[in-house]
């Protein structure tokens, strides 16, 4: 099944590399949102809870962009039947899609986090970087699982572009909570983590629950 998931993931990455639809858009979107926040909050520099909040909210909003597109290629190009006809475990489709979304998020963060450090962040970015990376990776797992699931749910509905954000954002609130709370001490004072275990635990719990639930229900979205 991992082999099949890898085949499907590779195909998606091939298409993304050729069309360059999702990742550049997410990156551009994030930087634009940073600019918006600069004007909206009327600040040249952010620190502490404000910095933390702006970063996480922007990342979550950028996820919505990618989620919108994740299953669209399958639907538009008639690809889903091709996957359904093959003698494969359909969970592999979920793993491939969640994997793709995870990779897009990582690539996005490679651009957005340094951009944030340059444009808006007051304190130093390098010192808290290792902890920040841990938080981002954990959060990305949850974002990818829930995102892939919501994408599959929304792909058959008429108002797909509207349903995705309305459905996705409340589901991602716990990630925003954990991420922002854990990052706040990293962007203020002596920039060392505070109560990190609590937030890492919450993210881990969230990831586990939603990964398992998604894998359990995903098949039902594909069958007919």
């Amino acid at each position: 099944m991992i082999g099949t998931a890898w085949t499907i993931l590779r195909k998606d990455l091939q298409i993304e590399l050729r069309t360059k639809e999702s990742v550049p858009a997410m990156a551009l979107f994030s930087v634009t949102v940073f600019v918006l926040f600069h004007f909206g909050l009327q600040r040249n520099e952010l620190e502490g809870d404000l910095a933390s909040g702006v970063l996480w909210v922007t990342l979550i909003l950028a996820t919505v962009l990618a989620v919108n597109r994740l299953f669209v290629t399958e639907r538009e190009q008639g690809g889903i039947d091709g996957l359904l006809l093959a003698p494969i475990d359909r969970t592999a489709v979920f793993i491939a899609k969640a994997g793709a979304l995870f990779l897009y998020l990582v690539l996005l963060e490679l651009v957005a986090v340094p951009a944030f450090g340059i444009l808006l962040l007051g304190p130093d970015l390098f010192k808290p970087l290792p902890v920040l990376i841990l938080l981002l990776v954990l959060a990305d797992i949850g974002l990818a699982s829930v995102g892939a699931l919501v994408s599959a749910l929304a792909v058959e509905t008429r108002a797909r572009d509207l349903i995705v954000p309305l459905l996705l954002l409340p589901l991602l609130v716990p990630v925003a909570i954990a991420g922002a709370e854990a990052t706040e001490p990293l962007f203020s004072g002596n920039q060392s983590p505070h109560e990190l275990g609590k937030w890492v635990g919450l993210l881990g719990l969230y990831d586990m629950v939603f990964l398992l639930v998604s894998i359990a229900v995903f098949d039902f979205l594909l069958e007919d």
Binding site: I163, L167, A178, K198, V209, V217, F220, L221
Partner: protein, 252 residues
């Protein structure tokens, strides 16, 4: 099939509601700080508890539907969630009233239950639009079930997350007397929870019964129309218009 026991339930609900109201107004002690308005606690919190269980029950029924393929479970899940959404509005409103009366603000971010409810309410608001934007009825039921399961799993997670975020900020502003409640309060509270739970189940059954009846009616009509069409295409005489044929659902 669904209507069984409806009468007993309605009576039980009315009775317990009456008892609860009586207890709230005449038996439960008056709160020293918040005064009379504190009594809204007896509707706000039981409503919240019942609503949450309603959402989770909707998720469980959705699991039953996916495993059995029996559409009646989907109907039960739909009604449970639908009712809970309505009650969630009541939770938010009573919470706001309580907040305004106690603290002077219509909304307090420091009350984790209220905040969690807002998030859950926003999530479940998508349930009906999602359902009704899928045209194929089988697929609609399946996708709605998947949603109900995800959202049901989300409810406890969300509560944990919001609680954790509040843990070291202000103590719960809308709690009463901290941990233990005096006996009279506890009794009133429990009766209120029971009353609202009974009310919920009664309304649930009621809506199921009425939906089932109109479903059967619709199906009968459609079948009659189809047969009329067939008779027409097969030969000669135009079929009698369906509207003159009285279609009554069988009493089940």
């Amino acid at each position: 099939m669904y209507g069984k026991g409806l009468r007993t339930l309605s009576i039980a609900s009315a009775a317990s509601l009456g008892t609860a109201l009586g207890l709230v107004f005449f038996y439960a002690p008056l709160d020293a700080d918040q005064g009379f308005i504190q009594k809204i606690f007896y509707i706000h919190v039981p409503l919240a508890i019942v609503t949450l269980f309603g959402f989770i029950a909707g998720g469980l029924m959705a699991i039953k539907y996916l495993r059995s393929g029996d559409r009646s479970w989907d109907m039960r899940s739909y009604v449970a969630i639908h009712l809970s959404i309505v009650l969630a509005v009541a939770v938010l409103i009573t919470g706001a009233i309580w907040a305004k009366a106690s603290w002077g603000h219509w909304w307090v971010w420091d009350e984790p239950t209220l905040v969690s409810f807002l998030i859950i309410f926003l999530l479940y608001c998508c349930y009906q639009p999602l359902r009704f934007s899928i045209e194929d009825p089988e697929r609609q039921a399946r996708y709605a079930a998947v949603f109900a399961i995800i959202a049901g799993a989300f409810v406890p997670l969300n509560f944990i997350a919001v609680r954790l975020a509040q843990a070291f900020s202000h103590p719960r502003v809308l709690s009463t007397t901290g941990g233990d409640m005096p006996g009279s309060m506890r009794l009133t509270f429990l009766v209120s929870v029971l009353a609202i739970a009974l009310l919920y189940v009664t309304l649930w059954k009621l809506e199921l019964t009425s939906k089932n009846a109109s479903h059967q009616l619709k199906r009968l009509r459609q079948r009659l129309e189809l047969e009329a069409e067939e008779r027409q295409t097969r030969g000669g005489a135009p079929a009698p218009p369906v509207s003159t044929v009285p279609a009554s659902p069988r009493e089940t």
